[in-house]
Subunit: 343 residues, 2 copies
């Protein structure tokens, strides 16, 4: 696997070609590579190297007598073997640390929003962030009365993640009904995966007394914010403006609309990444989505109790991998540290 028999020189040429292409967004000519000091070769020799790289599908020519551009496979090799993640600069690190400080005890939705902002600001790319969500096992559910007719529901997961929502009640619901509803909920749901909550509620609530049933109905209405099993609704993104600036999307911007639109899709794309590595990279067609064939994804994950939060940078396959990987990696570790998880 490692290198697929690429010689030292071929690797070097491939690296230079990719880095030049990332800078210029245009096909790279043999002479452009030959003029690099690191390669003391003539353009003719470079061409023969390019020819061999092309035969093995690391690069391709958009048309005869054009320069070469990397294929997905070329980028993959670059990412796996040729590049070194670039750690964020000091000022960037302090921007990250400063942006995260003070959030350690906050609702994870808020942290996720902040993360997408930080990433897109620094990366200058579209950034997506998926909060840990209520994934996992329900630990307890509280129902707390506020003023008459209003209550707060809070679900705490074994992972420590808490979701809250305000519900409105008819006036005939007493505090004792609320208490009874809370007791029932804990009895039914404690130790259960949150994914099952909706089904359980629907099946069991028929037997409850009318006022209790009313409370449960109100919870069901709010389920999209409260009892989402995975990373359903909790997708945040920031930096849409950046992705439109890339010349590769100037022609068909329509696919970008589809991507931005569906949070389910985004969650799926980002969520499919590995959780054992800090950073996962998906290049071009490695991505299952048709609309993302020409984009790459750098996904980082962080652990909060039993849940996993994720952040990703989305851009053209021609993206600044070393910088972005370094950025996402740093942020992942910072968040892991912040929430006390070890890998």
């Amino acid at each position: 696997m490692a290198g697929v028999d690429l010689s030292e020189r071929e690797q070097k040429v491939l690296r230079l070609l990719i880095e030049a292409h990332v800078r210029t967004a245009r096909p790279v000519s043999s002479s452009a590579i030959a003029s690099d000091r690191a390669i003391p070769l003539s353009s003719a020799t470079v061409r023969s190297v390019l020819r061999s790289l092309e035969e093995r599908k690391f690069i391709l020519q958009p048309h005869t007598s054009a320069g070469r551009i990397p294929t997905d496979r070329g980028y993959r090799h670059y990412v796996d073997f040729l590049m070194k993640p670039a750690a964020p600069s000091g000022s960037e690190r302090s921007a990250i640390d400063g942006g995260l400080s003070g959030f350690s005890g906050t609702d994870h939705e808020i942290v996720a929003t902040e993360i997408s902002r930080i990433v897109s600001d620094l990366a200058k790319e579209l950034a997506v962030s998926v909060a840990p969500g209520a994934a996992g096992i329900v630990d307890r559910i509280d129902l707390v009365p506020l003023s008459p007719g209003r209550a707060v529901a809070a679900a705490t997961m074994r992972s420590g993640v808490t979701r809250t929502v305000a519900i409105a009640l008819e006036s005939d619901v007493e505090n004792s009904d609320l208490g009874e509803a809370a007791c029932l909920l804990n009895e039914w749901l404690r130790g259960e995966p949150v994914a099952a909550a909706e089904t359980v509620l629907l099946r069991r609530m028929r037997r409850a007394s009318p006022p209790v049933r009313q409370v449960l109905r109100a919870l069901l209405a709010a389920r999209s914010q409260f009892l989402t099993p995975g990373e359903g609704q909790s997708v945040h993104y920031e930096g849409a403006r950046y992705i439109f600036r890339h010349p590769e999307f100037a022609s068909d911007a329509a696919c970008l609309g589809d991507i931005l639109d569906s949070e389910e899709t985004l969650a799926e794309v980002v969520g499919g990444a590995s959780t054992t590595r800090a950073v996962t990279i998906r290049i071009g067609r490695e991505n299952p989505l048709r609309g993302m064939r020409r984009m790459s994804l750098v996904v980082g994950s962080y652990r909060v109790g039993g849940g996993v939060g994720r952040m990703a940078v989305i851009g053209p396959t021609r993206m600044k991998y070393p910088r972005l990987v370094g950025l996402v990696e740093y942020l992942s570790r910072a968040l892991d540290g912040m929430f006390g998880a070890k890998r």
Copy 2:
């Protein structure tokens, strides 16, 4: 003002021209209008009418020997005097009513998300929704302990809107500290506009005891979801894919990125609309934003207690005004009815 002295015939021609242009997205020729049964005139006569409309800037020619397209002013006249809002069909009405049912007691953020989904589904356009937000006066603030180290904060406004957020606390915070913090918060903030909350907290928290201060700090960290004065963060949108399909944006899609990106901007654009009318229309350059010069906006509002929620459809100036106005109007009234407000 009314009509700016347009004759009956001119109005009719303008209406037909606009409706044809909305259908075809292309300049409308005199013969296309003349061939309409409602206008028993020759194309030559229509041309002289068009000429007079053009002199008064209701329409323009993209270039000599092309058909005419409406100007912003033309659309404005159409919207104000020539069109009649088209009430949603029966199936659409039931889609709206069904989509909203069961949400009457829920957090307004959730309702707003659902609204943007409903509108974009039916309108087939980009739909934006701004939740009523915590605008207005603080009525009370509750801090409720959950499991050790976790608490829920709930802010209830005079308007009845409630916002909740979960906060994490160091273990050295006792329940009594929480109670003291709640007392202080109510003392400081009750009757105050929520916009002032952040400033008040920052100024006063220095005097509090360390554990209480910790609670207040946690609240400040969560302020973006909790104590937002207006419609700060609570912007939802849906249907980005639709706006990319319009031929007018095929060339320069970049401006769309800017619009989708900044929630502040969106909130500003949508929020600037009148609250006395059910529906406000902004056409092209009537919009303060440079990037929206070629777009129109149909904004509806609904009242919840003292707060105002809003929804809007965003599309090219060439949009289906009667249909969209009818839709937004219906939804606004439905929401007003649901939350018991009268206009």
